[in-house]
Structure formats: C-alpha cells, structure tokens
C-alpha cells in the first residue's frame, strides 16, 4: 500500500492543478465557444443556432473599428517598440559607465499598472493643460496636440503610452541578446578593421533572430490583450474611436448585456492570439527535435 502510494504521489500532487486548468481554461473556452454559437443575449442559451453571432459581429461597425484599431495599434506598437528597444540596447552596449542607472530608468514603466500609465499620459496629453498648453506658453500660439479627444488620432495617443511602457522591456531583451553574441567573432572582425556599424548589421543583429521573434511574440500578445491602457487613457472613446476587441468584449459582457456578442468577440481574440502563438510554439518544438 505505501509503495503504491509512493509511486503515485507525484501524479496525485499534480492532479488538482491539472484538473483546475482543464476546467477553468479548456472547459471555459469550450463554454465560450458553445455560447458564441447561440442566440444568447442577457442570459446564456444553449441551443446551437450556427454562426449568427459572428455574422452580427462582423456586420457591426463598432467591432470593425475595434479590429482596425487593433491592427493600427498592434503594428505601430510592435514596430516602434522594437526599433526603439534595439536602438537603446545598441547605444547602451558601448561600455557606458552609468549603464545600470540608465537601464533602471528605461525599464521602470514595465513595473507600473497600465491604469497608472494611462492616467499619467492622459494628463500629459490633456489638451487644455498638458503639452499643448506648455508649448503654447513657450510662444507657439497655434500649436495643437489634442490627440486624446480627436477620434481620428486618439488611437495614436494609445500607441505613445504603450510604447513608453513596453519599449524598455524590449531593450532589456535585446541587450541580453547583444551580450550573448560570441565575442571571438566580433574581435576577429575588429582585427580585420571592419567598422562597428557593419559588425552590428552583418554579424550581431542577424544572430539575434530568435530574440526578435520572442520580442515580437510578447509585444503582439500585449497588444491583443491591451484593455486597461485604453480604458484609463480614453475609455474607448471619443465615442468608440479607440475600442479594441478587448474593450468591445468587456462592454458587451458587462454593460450591454449581450453575452452572445461578448462570447463571439472573445473567440475572435483567441483566434488572433492562436494565429500568432501556434506557429511560434510549433517552430520552437521543431527546433528542439532537430
């Protein structure tokens, strides 16, 4: 008996967590998927009706805006954070004596809640009292910076705050990558008199491809999940100009009482995450088997 127990203890220890994950992750995804195929409104219904919720979703101008915003925000957020992160990492890699302090400064936004970030930038970009007023007081009377209340520009205000929060993290990833490149190769290149920028562009950066991929995955994931930042910065407004799928889902679930729409938009979000994550995981696993 004790021997049997001894043999099965590991499984029994893992079982509660595993069952919890099965129910609360996979079971719940199945529930949401199921409900997204019904006519649920205020209360869930369980008779499958087909893809009517998805038809409503893709016919909705609000969700259309949300997907477009995700595309704009995601693209700019990822590209700017990566470029800025890489640039700062390379600059920091030049044997700077104050590197530790600078790194701390560049990375601290990552420790903040997105609600805090959103609150701070909302105030900085406040049209009446923020940057706009500051520059006007300097004598540029016609200066205008009212992105947070301009429906066409508000999503770019979200990009600014997002980049501010996440680019330091990308810097840290790239800096670690730069430091792990084989020093011998670089020394050899230096001895041959190859200029530094060539060493970076031809040797170091190409060897960091996996880090670019990691940074991309993390940033894409952050972009799709972005919810707090938009809520704090613009509240999804003006109107629904800065809605993202995440805020659309929340509005449908908790203020509009439209469970069918909430479920189907959540499934679309998951599909987007899968489209990015699955190829990544697949390539990771394949590399390990080779």
């Amino acid at each position: 008996m004790t021997e049997w127990l001894e043999r099965h203890i590991p499984k029994m220890v893992l079982a509660p967590s595993f069952i919890a994950i099965l129910v609360f992750v996979y079971g719940f995804i199945a529930w949401t998927a199921w409900v997204s195929l019904t006519r649920s409104r205020l209360l869930p219904k369980y008779e499958i009706e087909g893809i009517i919720q998805y038809e409503r979703l893709f016919a909705s101008p609000r969700f259309d805006t949300a997907m477009m915003n995700l595309f704009i925000f995601g693209t700019l957020f990822i590209i700017i954070s990566m470029v800025l992160g890489l640039l700062i990492a390379i600059l920091l890699d030049q044997k700077i004596r104050t590197e530790g302090v600078l790194r701390t400064i560049y990375l601290y936004p990552m420790a903040l809640s997105m609600i805090v970030t959103g609150t701070a930038w909302k105030w900085i970009m406040n049209p009446g009292l923020g940057i706009e007023k500051m520059v006007r007081d300097w004598g540029f009377e016609n200066f205008s910076f009212d992105w947070v209340i301009d429906p066409d520009m508000a999503i770019y205000a979200v990009v600014i705050a997002g980049v501010w929060q996440a680019s330091g993290f990308v810097m840290a990833l790239f800096l670690a990558g730069l430091r792990s490149v084989d020093g011998e190769i670089i020394k050899a290149a230096q001895v041959d008199g190859i200029p530094s920028w060539r060493i970076y562009s031809a040797i170091i950066i190409p060897s960091m491809a996996p880090i670019f991929l990691s940074a991309f995955i993390v940033l894409a994931h952050l972009a799709i999940k972005s919810f707090d930042l938009v809520i704090a910065l613009t509240g999804g407004g003006p109107g629904y100009a800065t809605d993202l799928p995440a805020t659309y889902m929340y509005a449908m679930a908790f203020s509009r009482g439209d469970i069918g729409q909430a479920a189907s938009s959540a499934m679309v979000m998951m599909a987007v995450v899968f489209a990015i994550i699955v190829p990544y995981l697949y390539s990771e696993l394949r590399v390990k088997h080779d």
Partner: protein, 298 residues
C-alpha cells in the same frame, strides 16, 4: 561579452571623431532617459501643486508652493463614484488579495514544477504543455463562464473570489518558472536520495526547497506585479467595496462629478504604483529575470 567602442582610434583626427561620437551617444541616451522619466516627474510635481497653480503654471515646472493636500485627499477623501473614502480601503483590498494569491500560486507552482521536472511519468509533458498553453489565452475567453462559476460557488464579488481567480490563472506561469529551474538540477540527486530512503516530500523539503531561493524570489515578484497591477479580473469580478486599487484609481480619475482635481488623480496614481515600483527598485534584477523567463521559454 561584446566589446566594441564606436570606432578604433588611429591618430588625432580619429580621436576627435571618437570624442564627438561619445558626446552624441550620451546626448541620445540622455534624451531617452528624459522621455522615460518625464511622466514620473510630471506626476510627482503635479501631485504637489494646488489646483490654482496647475491651471496657471506649466506642466513641467516645479511646484512654487509644495502642498500635500492632494495626497491626503487621494488617500482618504477622493470619490470613487458615490463613496468618498479615497484609495485607502482599496489599497488594503489589494494587499489582502495579493498576499494569499501570491503565496498559494507560488507554492503550487513549486510543487508542480518539482513533479514535472524530476518525477517524470507518462503524460507529464502533455500536462505541462497544456498548462503552458493556458498562459497565452486572452482572459476575455474565460470571463463569462468564470463570472457564473463564482456565482455558483457563492464567492462572486468577494475578495476570496478574486484570490481564487488569480491563483487559477497564475499556476501556468509559476509552474513554468519552477519547472525550468528544477530541470537543470541533475536527476541523480533524486535517485541517490531515494536509495537513501527519502520520500517524495522529504526530497522536496530538504533538497529542492533549500536550493530554490532565487526562483522563489523571481516567482513572488512576478506574481505580485501581475496581481497588483491587474485590472481586468478586478473590474470584472468585484463589486462596490471589494475593488482592488487599480479599479478604484480608474474610478477616481474617470468620475465625472465635481471639479476635475488633476493633482489628486496624480497622487492616487503614484500611490497605486508605489508597491510595484518599490519592488522594482529593491529587486530589479529578479524582476527582469521574471520578465525574460516569461517570454523566452527554455
């Protein structure tokens, strides 16, 4: 280590070029530092100004007269909707929510990681993959059923309910952290201990736990930052009185009644950010390790 100065020095003209480049380098780094520091600076100075000074002065000016009035209001008087008790009760909500949630998810992660890394059985890898995958889902996909489940369990809108949610969706990451750490410990250690008659728990307790301090620190910091900064679960599964600090902050800032008190908003934002900022300043090294471990999986 890469070791490249911007250009090799050959003769005096090269030297001038080198000095100019160095200056350019420091200027750029300084500009970036200003970009990252500016919001913090603006938050702190705004929180120390009177509303009058905010309206007449400049965004980036130091306060002419320092006043802590806004801090007092933010802590104990600002309105989150109809209640006007400031952030204080919600700050404590976050504290009593984060402590058990961090502790439980870290303990579960440690024991799960120990099993997956050292007591491999058939299917253990599949279980690990399934848990790992759970880290990546957008939580919107579980919000609706979780709201119903908490209702059925009778803990909807309560702090224990929020603790439960944070533990469940934290297990994936904590297990990943510990598994990756324990996997590098040679399996012979367990085998030798078994020969000596030590059992599953004894090996964990007297061999693995004493080795685990660094990864415990990384995991605790990661979980604390995640849970303290969480907004989505907090806003979805709390009700008036049980909201965590991020939700209360958002309510203060976006409450539409009365005069907009920007100094109070900024003081409240700093109060909500202080615990994680403090952790970052004290244990930044571990914080970064958690971030990179979460993104670059082994």
């Amino acid at each position: 280590m890469t070791d490249i100065s911007l250009s090799p020095a050959h003769g005096p003209s090269r030297n001038w070029g080198k000095i100019a480049l160095r200056w350019l380098l420091f200027t750029l780094l300084g500009i970036f530092a200003l970009f990252y520091l500016m919001p913090l600076f603006v938050m702190v100075t705004t929180s120390l100004k009177s509303l009058e000074e905010i309206r007449t002065g400049s965004l980036v000016a130091f306060p002419r007269e320092v006043t802590f009035e806004a801090w007092r209001t933010a802590w104990s008087g600002a309105c989150t909707g109809i209640q006007c008790e400031g952030l204080r009760p919600y700050f404590w909500n976050s504290v009593i929510l984060a402590i058990p949630a961090v502790a439980i998810s870290t303990i579960l992660g440690a024991i799960n990681g120990y099993v997956i890394a050292q007591w491999k059985f058939k299917g253990a890898n599949l279980i690990f993959s399934l848990m790992l995958f759970g880290c990546f889902i957008p939580f919107q996909v579980v919000l609706l059923p979780m709201a119903r489940m908490l209702g059925m369990m009778g803990i909807a809108g309560t702090i224990p309910g929020l603790i439960f949610v944070h533990v469940i969706y934290g297990i994936g990451f904590t297990t990943l952290f510990f598994r990756n750490y324990y996997v590098s410990i040679p399996q012979e250690l367990v085998k030798a201990a078994k020969v000596d008659g030590a059992g599953f728990f004894r090996i964990f307790w007297s061999i693995f736990l004493p080795l685990s301090l660094p990864i415990i620190v990384v995991t605790v910091i990661w979980q604390f930052t995640q849970i303290w900064n969480d907004f989505l679960f907090g806003v979805s599964f709390s009700q008036a009185g049980t909201q965590p600090v991020t939700v209360a902050l958002n309510n203060i800032v976006n409450s539409t009644t009365g005069v907009k008190e920007y100094n109070v908003d900024m003081a409240a934002a700093i109060i909500a950010a202080l615990p994680t900022l403090l952790v970052y300043v004290v244990a930044g090294k571990y914080f970064i390790r958690g971030l990179t471990a979460g993104s670059v999986k082994g």
